[in-house]
Symmetry: D2
Subunit: 223 residues, 4 copies
């Protein structure tokens, strides 16, 4: 469904043309050294009975497909979740007031545990991020520089929140950013579609997962 | 017009209720020491014949009203514009490809010159920012800390770009962020309205300008 | 011993005068809202049989004295240690080559465990920092802003490494920084004395612990 | 003279051995894509009659030698100076109290003008930095990422201030950092020698300029 919605935006040539005239929405393309960032595929988002949860099962399957190729090719892979201390000092009063759902993201709880079926490897760092962007107040940037990464493939959830924020940070830092449309999800189909369009116009190249997989296959093995 | 659109979102109680149930859209409220950030009120955005331009005359007037009170009360005030070196090394290849309009933002050009009628004072810093957020790769954060600011009143343009990005940075850093609806503008009315709603749900309190002015009048004079 | 060395530098008026003539070494003084940063008081530094270890028992006692006052007054308190994932991806190749001792700082190990006698409370965040400065790639800055902190009292170890780096970050961000001379330590007495002098000339006010305690007693209780 | 002092430290094998035993002072070596950072070669430091000034004529000549090779090879080159607004809001009260010499660093003044004989090219950005590190509150990081730089060759002044701080930032971000001993200078020979040793032990590889030039000659031309 989300893919269709994105396809719909793509098939709105008038709107794309209007953005293009204002100097938005160019293609950045691939750099030489991609890494995969898997954003917030943890219980608080993937369990349908959670306050923030929704059915992300197809997103999860698509991420697994991507990870299989990325691992075979030896690309750096990073996972994020959100997590605060039990006293919530790490969240801050401003954040807790604006986003009351953050008060449930306690380090070590089931809610912030990564989806086990992703089978994170020991050499794939798990980053506990306090804000929407995976770069904010974390060590991710230093790790990407250490690995000479120049391209971030951003997958997970939510398209309108942490995916958008992470893609914007990557853009701000001059990393190429690629968002495979079927490997990101959101509890709201309209927010998903609107955000994918906005991401594509401003900060990252949104493209079909198949195109991403095809590109990765052309890379030399580093594994 | 934009105000009406925002009012319309405000008058969509079903949508707000849906966000509230997911733990979004709480009120942050005012801190003790506000500052005013005037974002990108320069020729590239305020001249209607520019690629990015639109009629921001009412936004400009509203900002002047706010500045008059802020100056009388002695609040710290900061202006931003965008500006790159003529060779565009400061922009970066990724940014230039995604947002071709950035190639016109050359330091010292008329296009990036602040709207003269804002009458910037010598003690009101002008920040040349390379990205949408006024905090990214600039000295703004250190200046706010030096002034013990805890609240940022964010005005200017564009609502869907630099206003949103600046408000998100402020939120990420635990500054209170206030967006007076009639003092921000966008070339697209629908992007304006949608962004105001999103900003209000996620990172800042959007409120009528009158309410902002009323609050500032209650503050002690620091001038 | 270190205190004597610092006293010695203080008693070198010719050198201080030389720095003063070049425009260094002014007094910053106290802000209004101090917090305490306890840096790296963990096994890797406090156990004398560790590669980086030295006898920090008097430093530890002095920190406890400071914490007792700070807790009574309700000041925000933050602890740091260093910690990497077992695969050391979080450290990075550059760091591991330059500082091979970092390879032992594995999350969850005894080596990076905080000195238990400091009796960290649940509302005193423990920050795992990947670099010398407590601000680098961590959430500390957002937490200080949330608490409206304007002054950082920096204690722990090592004076020539993480204390200096943390004090420089605080200075860069326009936080007042205070280093109580007897509450910081280093495995090398000469590096300790030289660094205290350098810190005092460039980034923070170094002062006797007694003077710090005396100031804190004048503050209103926030506990 | 400074070179001799560094040689002297190098010839103090007992001290180096002591640091090595504690896990400091490893060799990082070269990455694949170096850039040159020329730090603060402006009037405030290079004019001997300035408060911060000293005779940096040999350092200047050595930098010119390095730049000639770097330009021929097409390496990215960045210059820094310090500069504040006339009202000094960009400096901040903390910085002005601790380092009164900063009050003279006014944007556009002769004092902060780059040494003309360096003949900066239009495609070599000039970065106005507000603090010692060239990375703090500037756009340098984004520019390095855009150019896929992994190695920073750091030259200029002062060894004990901005060179050390810039090298530490580079290290923190996992950039390789190289300091050619004869291309950095300081008003104090002892501070110069002590800082070079400390830099070499903690954050960057200090090496003779000849060795740097020799390495650059092995690189493919990108010009």
């Amino acid at each position: 469904m989300p893919e269709q919605t994105f396809a719909h935006s793509h098939s709105n040539p008038a709107l794309r043309e209007q953005y293009a005239r204002a100097g938005f929405g160019g293609r950045v393309g691939w750099g030489e050294r991609p890494a995969v960032l898997v954003i917030d595929m943890a219980g608080a988002w993937t369990h349908t009975d959670e306050q923030l949860g929704s059915d992300l099962s197809s997103v999860l399957e698509n991420i697994k497909t991507l990870l299989a190729v990325a691992r075979r090719k030896g690309l750096p892979i990073y996972f994020t979740t959100m997590a605060y201390d039990p006293a919530l000092r790490e969240a801050g009063e401003v954040a807790l007031r604006k986003l009351p759902h953050l008060a449930k993201m306690i380090r070590g709880s089931e809610r912030v545990r990564l989806e086990p079926s992703l089978e994170r490897r020991e050499n794939e760092p798990l980053i506990e991020k306090p804000r929407a962007s995976a770069f904010r107040s974390t060590n991710l940037l230093s790790e990407l520089i250490s690995e000479r990464v120049d391209t971030t493939i951003i997958v997970g959830c939510s398209t309108s929140g942490c995916i958008r924020a992470t893609a914007e940070s990557a853009f701000d830092l001059n990393f190429h950013a690629i968002v495979p449309a079927e490997a990101v999800g959101d509890r709201s189909p309209s927010a998903h579609a609107g955000s994918l369009f906005d991401i594509d116009m401003r900060v990252a190249d949104v493209m079909p997962l198949a195109e991403v997989l095809e590109h990765l296959e052309t890379l030399p093995d580093r594994a």
